[in-house]
């Protein structure tokens, strides 16, 4: 396999394109509403109407407008890019007839709606366009050229320099500079090094990584292979949670296809570079997304975190230097090499570059998956793209960062979405969960919900998190049951401080965040629930 061969595959694939293409979303969301039957019906309908020569029915990944699914997109039509929403299996004849001018009463999405227009699609560029189960589709979209160029034109140090200059930061939550992490692993002594892709995605309501893995698996594999070249690794592990069977089967297929074409395995692009990727399946523990717990799990041990240092970059899998990045982080690599570090660095804000994918949900008109440039004001996301609260309600707060994050109140909606601004408001970027809350939402209940999640997901290894989350949850229950006093609230705040400062891993260290952030902006909602006699007592002292 060489560059010419890639081009031949791409050209052959282009030449086989038909006049029309019906793109049927076959991601987990639409699949749950019979997308597979829809695709089958479309195919047989194309045959019935004698349009086989002109119409391709293509399996594609997520288009993002998941709330309106199942979705079928149309290419090559008078209105190119037309999108049918809420398609049912019995709608197939009407959809196919519409290609030849027939009437079709189905709801149509407006491609110029801000929900689409305000997006900037880099990691999701192929989502909903290419067939994730055909490597030819990915190659025709320019796939594996970045890997080729990295191997033949760039030294490992040059690849790392590009990634560093792009300003890319980890998308797994903490926003650690990716180039710096890569160069640490590259410099760590050791003959054997590993690449790990974190696809555990455990935040409640989050499905950004799932959609990337389901819609464009080769993009992640290519990013991992480039990383392996850069840091000197020859083995990768892709850790995916067991709840994502479709992603797992597409990844297995993608790895097989890439190996068959000499894009993974030995002698990649006929160079000495060898890189293999194995899939490891997580068994449903949120904490296994934490890097040290994840690595213990890959090694076949009980998935519990261990203290850092040593960091994985120094001593990771089986004691070897290990690079661990999130799915979305790896998905950014090939685009950066293809279009240049300067292009990437020109997107976003000073310290947060590129784009971020969010799963927009909650009390909002348009929910789904969006990829937006960093620095976009939160207001544009929720009001313009999301269309605001349904049923004329008003937005009260936006939760970002899941159980490790916080709530940003409506008065701060003009905040730009970047790592530092969100931290300043007591929340975090997190992995991309974004839950909108309307004026009917009780913020103490929200804090309690996340605390219950952390309590249930605590691995139990360290005392502050294992027992502290239980006590904090009990105090929150007491407050919502209107049985708490000001002293209980003070106890809660003291525990928040202690659990945050003393827990072993990020789960415990951030578990108090939803409480702290709602206390910061909605303290009165807590105080209103306190027992009336105690309510008159002076406010509790803030813990040291």
């Amino acid at each position: 396999m060489q560059l010419d061969d890639l081009q031949t595959i791409a050209e052959k694939h282009q030449a086989s394109r038909k006049k029309f293409c019906l793109r049927t979303c076959m991601s987990a969301g639409c699949m749950s509403s019979q997308a597979d039957v829809i695709k089958k019906n479309l195919e047989s309908e194309v045959k019935t109407q004698g349009l086989e020569a002109d119409v391709e029915v293509r399996r594609v990944g997520c288009m993002g407008f998941c709330g309106q699914g199942p979705l079928v997109g149309v290419d090559g039509h008078a209105q190119d890019g037309e999108l049918f929403e809420h398609v049912k299996p019995e709608d197939a004849p009407a959809v196919v007839r519409s290609l030849t001018g027939g009437e079709c009463a189905l709801e149509r999405g407006d491609p110029h709606h801000p929900f689409f227009a305000k997006q900037l699609r880099i990691v999701r560029a192929n989502g909903g366009i290419i067939d994730p189960e055909r490597i030819e589709d990915y190659i025709a979209a320019g796939g594996y050229v970045a890997l080729h160029n990295a191997l033949t034109e760039l030294t490992p140090a040059q690849v790392i320099e590009q990634i560093t200059r792009s300003g890319l930061r980890g998308r797994g939550g903490a926003g650690f500079p990716t180039g710096l992490k890569w160069s640490t692993v590259a410099k760590s002594p050791g003959a054997k090094k590993y690449i790990v892709c974190n696809g555990d995605e455990g935040d409640p309501g989050a499905f950004m990584d799932r959609s990337i893995l389901e819609s464009d698996p080769h993009l992640v594999l290519e990013g991992m292979a480039i990383a392996a070249h850069a840091v000197g690794a020859d083995q990768g592990f892709l850790y995916v949670r067991a709840e994502y069977p479709l992603a797992i089967s597409r990844l297995n297929l993608a790895i097989k296809q890439a190996k068959a074409l000499g894009l993974l395995g030995g002698a990649i692009f006929e160079s000495p570079f060898t890189f293999n990727i194995d899939i490891r399946i997580g068994a449903g523990a949120f904490v296994c997304g934490e890097e040290t717990a994840l690595m213990a799990s890959v090694e076949g041990k009980r998935g519990t975190p261990r203290p850092r240092p040593p960091f994985p970059a120094e001593s990771g899998l089986w004691g070897c230097p290990t690079l661990i990045n999130n799915v979305e982080t790896f998905a950014n690599i090939a685009p950066i090499l293809n279009r240049g570090a300067d292009w990437y660095a020109s997107l976003g804000t000073e310290k947060s570059k590129g784009t971020k994918v969010f799963a927009l949900t909650g009390k909002i008109q348009n929910n789904g998956l969006i990829e937006v440039p960093m620095g976009i004001p939160l207001r544009q996301i929720v009001e313009e793209m999301g269309g605001g609260a349904p049923d004329g309600g008003s937005i009260k707060a936006v939760q970002t960062g899941g159980p490790s994050g916080g709530c940003i109140p409506a008065q701060h909606l003009d905040t730009p979405v970047d790592y530092e601004s969100l931290v300043k408001l007591g929340s975090i970027m997190g992995s991309g969960g974004m839950v909108v809350m309307d004026d009917k939402t009780n913020m103490v209940e929200i804090a309690k919900f996340y605390m219950e999640f952390c309590m249930d997901e605590s691995c139990g290894k360290c005392i502050p998190c294992r027992t502290g989350t239980v006590q904090m949850f009990r105090l929150l229950e007491k407050i919502t049951a209107r049985q708490a006093t000001a002293a209980d609230l003070a106890k809660l705040e003291e525990l928040c401080d202690m659990v945050r400062a003393t827990s072993l891993c990020g789960l415990g260290q951030t578990a108090p965040n939803p409480v702290l952030s709602t206390l910061r902006f909605f303290r009165h909602e807590y105080e209103e629930l306190l027992q009336s006699d105690a309510h008159a007592a002076p406010p509790p002292a803030t813990p040291a």
């Binding site: 203290p307 309590m455 139990g460 290894k461 360290c462 005392i463 294992r466 027992t467 003393t502």
Partner: protein, 238 residues
């Protein structure tokens, strides 16, 4: 390269290269409270009692897992640390059913001793009163989950000193508990050698000799140290 000089609680001390803060402190007569640490088995940094402050960082570090470096400045006894340690012990007492007056380890229990030395005189949190049982299937050893603080000292002793691999942790969060083999009755275990090293390592009354009554469970932990010493340094004690 051999030694490092650092400051612990204002005292300049020297320490061997690569030792942990805990070792350096202990070697110099400075006491840091610990619970999951046990001489002879590897450290896991789980109990968080040994947390110390290190100058230059806002984070706290577990002394049992953090290695010293030249010029390090460590504080082991700030007001904040003392408060956190007291709270940690309080949380443990609230978590399971610790009724010292009727416990085999009364008077010989590390948890109880820490409560005293850290000045934890009452528990402000709701007692959880969980319903844990006992495993009395072993011929002469017993396990009472109600007293277990999940320090995993028994697990590490069983795997790494005895090499039997009988003891394990099952469940997560507050439902974590110590099991034998794949959660079988201890008495049915085919891997357990009945060496009682788990019992020797247990800081509380969770593991005990059947037949011991209140306050009788006194354990000589140095036995474990002898074994490890003999194995690692080839030093035999007569």
């Amino acid at each position: 390269m051999g030694a490092k000089t650092l400051i612990i609680d204002g005292q300049t001390v020297s320490a061997e290269n690569h030792v942990t803060i805990l070792q350096a402190a202990t070697d110099n007569g400075i006491t840091i409270p610990t619970l999951c640490h046990l001489d002879g088995v590897y450290d896991v940094g789980a109990c968080r009692l040994c947390l110390v402050e290190v100058k230059g960082s806002t984070k706290l570090f577990s002394a049992c897992t953090t290695r010293v470096y030249e010029g390090m400045e460590v504080t082991t006894q700030s007001e904040r640390l003392k408060k956190y340690r007291r709270m940690t012990i309080e949380l443990l007492f609230a978590e399971r059913n610790h009724v010292c007056a009727v416990c085999v380890a009364n008077g010989h229990c590390e948890l109880q001793a820490l409560a005293t030395s850290l000045g934890m005189d009452h528990v402000r949190y709701d007692y959880c009163f969980p319903k844990w049982g006992m495993d009395l299937t072993h011929p002469f050893l017993g396990m009472d989950d109600n007293r277990c603080i999940l320090c995993t000292r028994c697990v590490r002793a069983c795997w790494h000193i005895e090499g039997a691999g009988t003891k394990n942790v099952a469940g997560r969060g507050s439902k974590s508990h110590i099991i034998s083999d794949l959660n079988e009755p201890w008495g049915d275990s085919e891997t357990c050698t009945s060496c009682a090293k788990c019992l020797l390592s247990c800081p509380t009354g969770a593991l005990f000799h059947k037949g011991d009554t209140v306050g009788e469970s006194e354990r000589d932990r140095s036995k474990l140290g002898y074994i490890v010493n003999a194995r690692e340094k080839q030093q035999w004690i007569v």
